[in-house]
């Protein structure tokens, strides 16, 4: 047993309320001797001492006693002094000092666990986003599988209504009849009931909304060289609709935005308000385009429509790209790779084709 002194602060009757600096040490007989500058050291027997962790964050060791004129306390606050106090304490007090430090470390542990839980809770949305990004395809597959064709058609109505505000939509006439007669060959056995429209726009473009709404721009109708070329474009768009590409895109972006909103709050106003607008301008991924090409080709072949038309139209697009990129390219990135691929597929086909009974020239003359 050493008598290494330890510094602390003494509180008690007759002392300033804020306490005063003092040094304590354990005597040979196991008593606590507290000395303050300019005063007689006082000694307290170990049996009369009470020891506990106390103070802010239980960071101090409180040694207190009942004196004749009131309670006194010696607070050992800093860690160094505390361990000096514990090291030289009489063996009878060791368990109580250990209990006090146990209380302190329990507090520390709870604090750490608490912060860990809080950090985990706060990062939940981020984890959610991460999981969503990793599993986006599977989650979208699952969500898309739960949407019936009837609801999809309702979405299509919404898109159509939006489109009507932006451009003139023609829903009857020779051109629409021609589209639906080609289209019905391509869409046999589909759960959707297809509706065909012509938009009065000079762009070389066409799009498919969810639920079997296909809109072909009049610019595209005019530039088609044959009914088979037109059928090629329709097949591609029908494939998009059948594979539910725009629906998947919508669900993906909605889900992502909902998650982002969870994290950073409502940053962009109503999510659902502009979702319909977004539908019309959805861009498909390269995979989606390739899928649509394959599926379109398969449908053309099944309908016994010459797929060389599709190929010719794609070549025409690729050729025009160098001059001024047609609008359809911005939404349908026709890469050279896609064209070569399609060429290879078409070259391998040996079926005989049935010509489409459509007078394209007369139709083109009558487009408003």
């Amino acid at each position: 047993m050493t008598d290494r002194p330890f510094a602390g602060r003494l509180f008690g009757p007759g002392l300033p309320g804020a306490g005063m600096n003092a040094t304590g040490c354990w005597t040979e007989s196991g008593a606590l001797r507290v000395s303050t500058p300019g005063a007689q050291p006082a000694e307290f027997q170990a049996e009369a001492l009470e020891i506990a962790a106390a103070g802010f964050n239980d960071a101090g060791l409180r040694i207190s006693w009942e004196g004749p004129d009131g309670a006194g306390t010696f607070m050992v606050e800093s860690e160094v002094e505390r361990s000096a106090c514990a090291a030289s304490a009489p063996s009878g007090l060791n368990t109580r000092i250990a209990a006090a430090s146990g209380q302190r470390s329990r507090l520390e542990r709870h604090f750490r666990v608490g912060w860990l839980l809080l950090a985990l809770f706060l990062s939940l949305p981020l984890i959610g986003i991460g999981a969503f990004l990793l599993q986006a395809d599977r989650i979208t597959d699952w969500a898309v599988a739960h949407i019936s064709p009837r609801h999809e058609a309702r979405l299509g109505d919404l898109v159509l209504a939006q489109t009507r505000l932006q451009m003139k939509i023609i829903d009857r006439g020779q051109a629409v009849d021609a589209l639906s007669s080609i289209g019905s060959k391509l869409t046999s056995g589909s759960p959707h009931s297809y509706r065909w429209f012509v938009a009065d726009r000079p762009d070389l473009n066409a799009f498919a909304a969810p639920g079997g709404v296909v809109v072909v721009f009049s610019g595209l109708l005019r530039s088609a060289g044959s009914a088979e070329e037109l059928a090629g474009v329709l097949a591609h768009e029908v494939a998009h609709a059948e594979l539910r590409h725009s629906l998947r895109g919508l669900i993906k972006s909605l889900g992502l935005r909902a998650l982002v909103m969870l994290v950073i709050g409502d940053a962009s106003g109503g999510v659902f308000a502009d979702a319909a607008t977004r539908l019309t301008e959805l861009r498909f991924s390269r995979e989606a385009e390739r899928e649509a090409d394959d599926e379109g080709l398969r449908r053309l072949v099944a309908a016994r429509i010459d797929p060389h038309g599709m190929l010719r139209f794609y070549e025409k697009l690729a050729g025009e790209k160098r001059l001024a990129p047609p609008a359809i390219l911005s939404t349908h990135p026709a890469s050279g790779e896609r064209l070569t691929r399609l060429r290879r597929e078409v070259a391998g086909l040996t079926q005989t084709w049935i010509a489409l009974p459509i007078d394209l020239e007369a139709l083109q003359k009558n487009i408003p």
Partner: protein
């Protein structure tokens, strides 16, 4: 570290400011933006961090500044240095109604734990640190949050709080129950904890919340009568611009009609 000894005088009653007298070569640190006036000969210098480390690397400074950001203070503190020949004075004003508490850190053992955002100014050499509240319950319901401020040194420090200040001495083992939010500062020997009010009825309808803050001695504590958040709440509640009650408790005509016509100045 040698602390600068400063003389001071506090002026005003409810909206106070403190005037600090600096001997030649002495300096004081103030929270950025609280300086009210300075006499000729005093150099103002803005430092990154709390200005207590005379030397210390860039990382040390960055850490100090980060701590200040956590406690709600600004990144920079301002150091006022007397470069003149005689005594010069600089004044720091409290930012909202309340009292300024002068604390001589040497008298209380060198450390003071106080509410974040309550630091006003101090002698140069006092270090401003953070004291994390490690008791989860106290951090959540004690009214002071998890982050408190720790002033260390042996010079003068000035802390500011709302309303009227009460300085109390708690004897060893003496416990005081305080409304959460009213605790301003205490010595580190004081145990700061919470206690459930005891009855569901008083918790729900008593208006004091679910918990008291409890302070157990020994040591000195400082309490404020009006936390700024409570004052701000009352002001917002009666501010017409944000949908509060307009009109005061004057006569019907004065408040309702003429008050509305004549009282608005925008």
């Amino acid at each position: 570290m040698a602390m600068d000894v400063v003389d001071y005088e506090i002026f005003g009653s409810e909206m106070q400011y403190v005037e600090v007298e600096l001997d030649p070569g002495e300096a004081a640190v103030g929270e950025a933006g609280v300086m009210m006036y300075l006499q000729e000969g005093i150099q103002m210098d803005t430092v990154f961090g709390d200005g207590s480390q005379q030397q210390g690397g860039f990382m040390g400074k960055l850490l100090g500044a980060g701590k200040r950001l956590l406690t709600g203070e600004s990144l920079f503190t301002t150091v006022f240095h007397n470069e003149g020949n005689g005594k010069r004075r600089v004044a720091f004003a409290a930012p909202y109604p309340g009292k300024i508490i002068p604390v001589h850190l040497a008298d209380i053992g060198g450390t003071l734990i106080c509410q974040k955002d309550s630091f006003l100014c101090a002698a140069k050499g006092v270090s401003l640190g953070i004291a994390f509240q490690r008791k989860l319950g106290v951090g959540l319901f004690g009214g002071e949050g998890f982050i408190m401020q720790k002033l260390e040194g042996d010079g003068m420090a000035f802390v500011h709080a709302g309303g009227t200040l009460k300085e109390l001495v708690l004897a060893p083992g003496e416990t005081l129950r305080v409304d959460t939010g009213c605790v301003v500062a205490f010595q580190p020997s004081v145990n700061f904890d919470i206690q459930f009010v005891g009855k569901i009825k008083s918790a729900v309808f008593g208006g004091e919340g679910f918990f008291y803050a409890t302070l157990t001695g020994p040591g000195k504590v400082w309490l404020q009568s009006l936390p700024l958040s409570r004052l701000a709440n009352r002001i917002i509640m009666s501010a017409p611009a944000v949908g509060g009650r307009s009109g005061d408790q004057g006569s019907l005509l004065g408040a309702g009609v003429l008050g509305g016509l004549l009282g608005s100045d925008d």
